[in-house]
């Protein structure tokens, strides 16, 4: 066996006492496409950041063609031949394809950019890797798949030997995904090593040679793709920590259709090109979990229910009355609450104290003739802080300084404070430690027992099987199944989630 192209040994990262990535090994050969998978918080993004230099690892080393990689220095890492293609664009949209590809390294003659040479170089590069791009097109006017190709070409122009691709197909249509896969295979054939990060099992089985699965900050499985089944992959990602007994314990408290009263009824909801034919009933006093891989358009669907994203087909009935969700304010007025997935960008005011965040949705309850009643707010906030067990329990503490788990509790608390009749939560425990997770589950169960209708979107199967009264599975914008959680077996769930729809 020849020496690997990239070899990471004992690469690890910890923040104080929190270990984000236990010392891990990773090997990549020339021409190999290796999938890197794991659920949110598994340490995947930390590993990537160590390799791009965004994060300086606390230990370990990385060799590229036998030479050590300058860890922690993004620019130097790129120049030594490891490039990353991020989910967000890393291009200058108003510049031409050609200028983006040779950004910062245009050939010059007598101090002027030598357009002719630049064009030849870029065209040679594109031809060599079989990428079909117009060098003069403005990047901002290109479809996303073409922009991804520009990024790939840019990385190759910087002599990339290893390409990291972070969910490159996130926003792509099916035909574009196939196109991108062809490009990836072609690059591999030319000897480029590729680390391919994706949540889509289809993709991984279509384009990758081997895979590395991370869970809880460590590598749990490393195998060639043709020697592992989908079920095994999902099982390895999710882990087997959930014992049969605790499953049974969870079962005993389940109420498959809550009180039986239909609170929210969704009929044939659709949005062109995103999701379609979504129909289900949400009952008072139940927790309905909708699961599926990332990219199955669950988030877009629940935002449509709340009024923060459009839909163009079907209808939503609340307590039998037809709703036309228009805006979040309107959804709230009808007693719907939504805890968004991204607490930093969509959920919280990080620069403001816990107190202000907690009363954000209920401010109008706390004023008399337009003047706030601080005592009413203080009372409400301290009881919320106590109920949520936020640490530290100081109302004046800035939310940005809290740990992920406590931030999440504040975010959920801000909505529980309204006591909505329907509460929708998107990935309620991403990046949250085990203790806080259990507390959040208890809060949601208590809300359910009070008669709230709770809709949870989650990719964490352990969470789904622990929390749900009923489980729905979404795949590529469609609701595949909807069943009582009691008696559902995990292999069944896994098979459905990973199904090639």
């Amino acid at each position: 066996m020849t020496a690997p192209l990239l070899e990471a040994t004992g690469l690890g990262k910890s923040y104080g006492t929190l270990v984000a990535l236990k010392p891990s090994d990773l090997r990549l050969n020339r021409g190999e496409v290796r999938a890197l998978i794991g659920s949110n918080g598994a340490g995947k993004s930390t590993l990537i950041k160590c390799l791009t230099g965004a994060v300086t690892p606390s230990g370990g080393s990385v060799l590229l063609e036998g030479k050590p990689l300058p860890l922690g220095q993004p620019g130097a890492i790129i120049r030594s031949g490891v490039s990353c293609i991020y989910q967000h664009s890393n291009l200058a949209p108003m510049m031409s394809v050609m200028d983006n590809i040779s950004m910062g390294r245009q050939p010059t003659r007598f101090g002027f950019v030598d357009r002719k040479t630049q064009r030849t170089q870029v065209q040679d590069l594109l031809a060599r890797y079989g990428i079909d791009l117009d060098p003069d097109a403005l990047v901002g006017t290109l479809p996303t798949v073409k922009q991804k190709e520009v990024e790939i070409a840019k990385a190759l122009a910087q002599d990339a030997k290893v390409l990291l691709m972070d969910e490159p197909t996130g926003w792509l249509a099916v035909s574009d995904v196939r196109r991108l896969h062809e490009t990836v295979r072609l690059l591999a054939a030319k000897g480029v090593g590729i680390i391919y990060i994706s949540h889509m099992l289809d993709e991984i089985f279509a384009v990758c040679d081997s895979l590395t699965i991370l869970r809880d900050g460590e590598v749990v499985t490393e195998r060639a793709v043709d020697r592992i089944s989908r079920t095994e992959v999902v099982a390895a990602m999710v882990g087997e920590r959930l014992a049969r007994e605790s499953l049974a314990a969870a079962d005993s408290g389940r109420k498959a259709t809550g009180s039986g009263e239909v609170r929210l009824s969704v009929r044939g909801l659709g949005r062109r090109g995103v999701f379609r034919d979504i129909s289900f009933d949400l009952h008072a006093g139940e927790i309905l979990c909708i699961t599926g891989l990332i990219g199955s358009k669950r988030t877009e669907m629940i935002h449509a229910l709340f009024g923060s994203a459009p839909h163009d087909a079907g209808e939503v009935l609340l307590n039998g009355k037809r709703l036309v969700p228009r805006s979040p304010a309107w959804g709230m007025a009808n007693g719907i609450g939504l805890v968004p997935e991204d607490r930093q960008h969509e959920g919280l005011m990080l620069g403001m104290p816990i107190r202000d965040n907690l009363v954000m949705t209920t401010l109008r309850r706390f004023h008399r003739f337009g003047v706030l009643r601080p005592r009413g707010i203080d009372r409400s906030v301290s009881s919320l802080i106590a109920a949520l067990n936020v640490q530290p329990p100081r109302p004046a503490q800035l939310v940005g300084r809290l740990s992920g788990g406590n931030q999440q509790k504040v975010l959920i608390g801000k909505w529980l404070a309204r006591d909505p009749s329907v509460l929708i939560l998107d990935e309620p425990t991403v990046g949250v430690d085990v203790g806080a997770k259990a507390e959040i589950y208890a809060l949601l169960r208590a809300a359910r027992d009070r008669g709230m209708a709770v809709l949870v979107v989650s990719s964490d199967l352990e969470e789904v099987t622990t929390l749900a009264d009923r489980i729905g599975v979404m795949n590529r914008g469609r609701l595949l199944s909807l069943r009582p959680a009691a008696g559902i077996t995990r292999p069944e769930l896994v098979a459905e989630i990973g199904a090639d729809a």
Binding site: L348, M349, R364, P374
Partner: protein, 311 residues
């Protein structure tokens, strides 16, 4: 040392103001006389009133460059209303109403069309100035025989000049609005995280429009006080540079241009700081040139320290 610096940093401005007062008091005993202190307040009252409104605008992450011309046109409109014999109340309402409307127009252009605030208010600055000149020409219009109107700018209540009284009353109201009503929290929320604010059901457009409206209203009030103070109305008042002083006071007070948490109380401290700076430099008999340079340098230094603090 670093620990001390970090702990002292939030109070840096307060400490500066206190240090300033002490230094000036030692250098020039007349500094601490009641008349000088009231004089300082009187000198900052116009910029101070405008800074109150600007605080809310900057808290949303916006900016309003049009306050100078708005103050001029409000003074002019009030003057014309008085001359036309509509009475004091109608005149004041006309001036204030116009300021409010211009502000709301700014706010709607920024909030509902998503245009950059700097450019929008740069545009309205030019439009309002042109309109004011069209209305009143470049000349000064003397305001005579309007005792009630003149009282606003030149009168005194218990020895305290009326502009100072108005400034203090408005400051108290703005402080209440920012810290004791839902509005203050909502404005900070919009500036801190607009998307999250929208997802929390806040009407972001209305909140932004309201802040610009408030800023326009307060600029108009300041403009009317000024015209009453100097017994003339002119389209050229509130000249270029006014908005810079106003913005500097707000930003010195610790409200960040990127929006988010802000405080009227701290803006007042910023206003006071600028007032002391000007007064102190006058007392020390520094020429206007040195004053301008020192002001620029001190503002840049203070803000760069603030930038370091927040990383």
């Amino acid at each position: 040392m670093t620990g001390l610096m970090t702990r002292a940093a939030p109070h840096a401005l307060t400490l500066c103001v206190i240090a300033f007062v002490m230094i000036l008091a030692v250098l020039e005993p007349a500094f601490l006389s009641g008349s000088n202190l009231i004089g300082i307040l009187r000198a900052v009252s116009l910029v101070g009133i405008m800074a109150l409104g600007m605080t809310f605008v900057i808290m949303t992450g916006g900016i309003d460059l049009s306050v100078g011309p708005v103050s001029a046109i409000a003074g002019l409109v009030a003057y014309f209303a008085l001359v036309a014999g509509h009475g004091l109340v109608a005149a004041l309402l006309a001036g204030a109403g116009l300021g409010l409307l211009i502000g709301i127009a700014n706010g709607l252009l920024v909030a509902s069309l998503g245009l950059p605030a700097i450019i929008v208010t740069l545009g309205t600055l030019s439009i309002v100035r042109g309109s004011a000149l069209l209305l009143g020409g470049p000349d000064l219009h003397g305001i005579r025989d309007q005792a009630a109107y003149s009282f606003i700018g030149s009168g005194a209540i218990y020895g305290i000049p009326v502009p100072v009284v108005i400034f203090l009353v408005l400051a108290a109201m703005a402080w209440l609005l920012q810290s004791r009503t839902p509005f203050g929290t909502l404005v900070a929320a919009v500036g801190d995280n607009e998307r999250a604010a929208w997802l929390s059901g806040l009407n972001v457009t209305a909140i932004k429009a309201a802040t610009y409206g408030l800023c326009g209203l307060l600029a108009a009030i300041a403009g009317m006080i000024q015209s009453s103070q100097v017994h003339t109305a002119s389209a050229t008042y509130g000249k270029f540079g006014t908005e810079l002083d106003v913005i500097a006071a707000v930003v010195l007070g610790g409200t960040q241009l990127s929006g988010g948490a802000g405080s009227v109380a701290r803006t007042l401290l910023g206003v006071l700081f600028l007032g002391l700076l000007n007064n102190g430099m006058n007392i020390l008999n520094l020429s206007i040139d040195i004053q301008l340079i020192a002001k620029g340098a001190i503002i840049a230094l203070a803000l760069s320290l603030a930038a370091r603090r927040t990383g």
